[in-house]
């Protein structure tokens, strides 16, 4: 058995969460509420230390008064706390939404559209690889057909869309099967923590 207080707390909380598998119960509820409070608090503290202090407080102390702009925008957001002032928060939200929409346009264009199209243009591999390349192209076009909204799924388009669904299902199966591995690894690690670090019946570190 471990002699470390931190390990004991961690182990007990681990068991509290596992108890949810049986059913919802006071132990899980306790862990849940503790987690919400501790994580929300941690985030607040991290944002204070990493954003508010260096980017606003210290800048204002150094006389960099440009930092007043984000401060005002931030304070406007707090208007949402009361019904009467909630309208003023719109200004900062509009600013924020504008920024991220503006970033989204070129970044999706680059990473999702151009990069993928460019990748799709690779010439067919020789030999048997060509069959695979052709299948990739066929799958790509048929899935695209499924996502073509301007025409009903009838005739050739209907057949292509159906084939597209099949490709999607194979992709989903692959993702699912692949993810099992990652999730089981996480469970193994929790078991190792309980049986080795806490109880101490497993060897090695």
């Amino acid at each position: 058995m471990s002699h470390d207080v931190g390990t004991w707390i961690a182990a007990i909380l681990t068991l509290c969460v596992f108890s949810f598998l049986y059913r919802d119960n006071p132990l899980y509820r306790f862990a849940e509420h503790l987690f919400v409070g501790a994580s929300a608090g941690y985030l607040l503290a991290v944002q204070y230390q990493n954003v508010l202090r260096p980017n606003v407080i210290e800048k204002l102390q150094r006389g960099q008064f440009l930092a007043i702009i984000p401060l005002v925008l931030g304070i406007l957001i707090l208007g949402r706390a009361w019904e009467r002032t909630s309208g003023i928060a719109r200004w900062s939200l509009a600013f924020y939404v504008g920024i991220y929409s503006g970033i989204a346009v070129p970044s999706y264009l680059q990473a999702q559209i151009f990069a993928q199209v460019a990748d799709a243009l690779k010439p067919f591999a020789p030999g048997w690889g060509a069959v695979s390349s052709a299948l990739v192209l066929l799958g790509f076009l048929s899935v695209l057909a499924y996502f073509f909204f301007s025409a009903p799924h009838k005739g050739v388009h209907g057949i292509a869309a159906r084939l597209g669904i099949w490709f999607l299902m194979v992709a989903f199966g692959a993702s699912f099967g692949y993810t099992v591995m990652a999730r089981v690894s996480l469970l193994i690690a929790r078991m190792q923590f309980l049986m080795r670090d806490w109880i101490g019946i497993l060897p090695g570190a």
Binding site: A10, L13, F18, F20, H33, L34, F35, V36, G37, A38, G41, Y42, L43, L44, A45, V46, Y48, N55, P70, L71, G74, I75, A81, R90, A94, F95, G98, I99, S101, A104, V105, Y108, Q112, I113, Q116, S132, L135, V136, L137, G139, L141, S142, V143, L144, F147, G164, F167, M169, V170, A171, G173, A174, F176, G177, T179, M181, L186, A189, R190, F193
Partner: protein, 205 residues
């Protein structure tokens, strides 16, 4: 009243799109300043949200509502961690760091590991060969699950290459088509907001 915020969104949005195409250092510096401001706005939104969280739990405690004890747990954790983190900092050696290690971290990783159980029950329930689509999903998932662990190699040496093929061919085809569709959808959604076609985020559908 809504015209102003729409202009703000339009201006910030178009500015950030433009910056993407302008490698000039002044443009890049402007972008980092704007992003820093956005971070401050986010922090204030976090403060707003955390105050609301605090108020709702405080109300439950004062009214002795059902489950008020749990709300008290959230309140104590939230207040304690925030105060400690703001005063002492949040790095590994501080008290908040230790709380993170023995409370937040094990709770997060145990919650995460519960997915191993859920993925099994979801597979059992949903993987039924009722039609072509479901059969494709289930067969691919089984091949992936068997093929990527030692036991798969043990049964048939062709399993690992088969899983690679599934990932490289049908999976790639479907993912690529979805990515392009999502990319275009994302670009047009963001453009709709910047151009003021979609104003629902300002509270008008």
């Amino acid at each position: 009243m809504r015209f102003g915020p729409l202009v703000v969104t339009f201006l910030t949005g178009t500015t950030l799109i433009a910056i993407f195409f302008i490698p000039h250092h002044a443009a890049q510096e402007t972008q980092s300043v704007i992003l820093e401001w956005a971070d401050v706005v986010y922090t204030f939104a976090l403060i707003l949200g955390s105050i609301a969280l605090w108020m709702s739990h405080q109300k439950k405690v004062f009214q002795r509502a059902e489950g008020w004890f749990y709300s008290a747990v959230t309140l104590v954790a939230l207040t304690g961690v925030t105060a400690l983190g703001v005063v002492q900092g949040v790095s590994g050696t501080t008290l908040v760091g230790q709380i993170y290690d023995s409370v937040n971290a094990p709770l997060a990783s145990t919650m995460f590991s519960l997915l191993a159980f859920f993925i099994a029950s979801a597979a059992f329930r949903a993987f039924r060969a009722r039609n072509v689509e479901a059969t494709l999903l289930l067969v691919t998932a089984i091949v992936m699950m068997i093929g990527r662990v030692s036991i798969g190699e043990f049964v048939w040496s062709g399993f690992p290459p088969l899983t690679e093929w599934l990932l490289d061919v049908p999976n790639l085809a479907a993912k690529r088509a979805v990515a392009i569709g999502v990319g275009l959808g994302a670009v047009s959604t963001a453009l709709k907001i910047i151009l003021g076609i979609d104003r629902s985020y300002l509270g008008r559908a």
